[in-house]
Symmetry: C2
Subunit: 164 residues, 2 copies
């Protein structure tokens, strides 16, 4: 287990300066930019830039460099949110349920919610038939599930990161 991924409960938040924020902003837009190009735009030396970048990585601020895929281009044109309520007598199965759902194809996000002990499943699938199929196969048939409520997503947008 990398040190960076240890519990951070109660730990003082990492404070970013302008250079850190600039790095994150640029890498958020294009994580494949070269170190030299980043350094130039920031007005610092490439070696400094590299040091900053490595610092952000070891501090755990940067979890990973990744790629954003467009699901609709690959035929997953429909997103849906499925609210799931677990049966009161099946609360001990919630951990297993969570793991099970997370692995299902089409599931893009899974929220375990407080308050009324619910899950929210975010799926990206081909069409409404797929949603129905997903609910029937994975939820309605599951004895731990008390009820579900599905909403189609008309629009889904990312917010602007608050730390930039």
């Amino acid at each position: 287990m990398p040190a960076a991924s240890k519990k951070i409960r109660g730990r003082a938040p990492v404070e970013l300066d302008d250079i850190d924020r600039g790095l994150l902003r640029m890498l958020t837009e294009n994580s494949r930019r070269t170190n030299n190009s980043l350094a130039e735009e920031l007005g610092i030396a490439p070696s400094t830039c590299l040091a900053r970048l490595n610092a952000l990585r070891s501090a755990g601020v940067i979890r990973k460099f990744t790629v954003e895929v467009a699901p609709e281009v690959l035929g997953h044109a429909l997103e849906a949110l499925i609210f799931v309520r677990i049966r009161p007598g099946a609360r001990h199965l919630m951990g297993a349920f969570s793991e099970e759902m997370r692995a299902k194809p089409g599931v893009t996000q899974l929220f375990f919610l407080g308050g009324t002990d619910d899950f929210l499943i975010h799926v990206a699938v081909r069409d409404s038939d797929d949603v129905r199929q997903f609910v029937l196969d994975n939820l309605s048939a599951n004895p731990a599930v008390a009820s579900t409520q599905t909403s189609l997503v008309f629009e889904h947008s990312q917010g602007t990161a608050p730390w930039l």
Copy 2:
């Protein structure tokens, strides 16, 4: 407007082969890997690999290369989901409402939902006081909002991409 970002409504989905999937899988884990390194692991020539990568970009499969930031390390330790119902008489304000919310600091995702004309706002903030503040300032005070319902997020995980 790039050709790749045009409407794809009804367009035949892009079909991926093993090499494409391999590329996406590796880049999802680390988008800063060099082309040569990707090519080697895939067992193809670097030039071929680069061509594949560019093809995925122009096809719009790859939206962008980006970075995954850990909000909790920066002090945004609490996530919440806020369900918003818009007043029946204020449906014409939904577009504006959407834009307004998306720009608020702390908002990481915004879903515009069908069915019962609702929004779901996903926020990452410091603590529960911030959630309360967010709801009071941006939602309760908004005349277009009929009601809100907030759930704290105990766990939030990304699913495995179905196209890999």
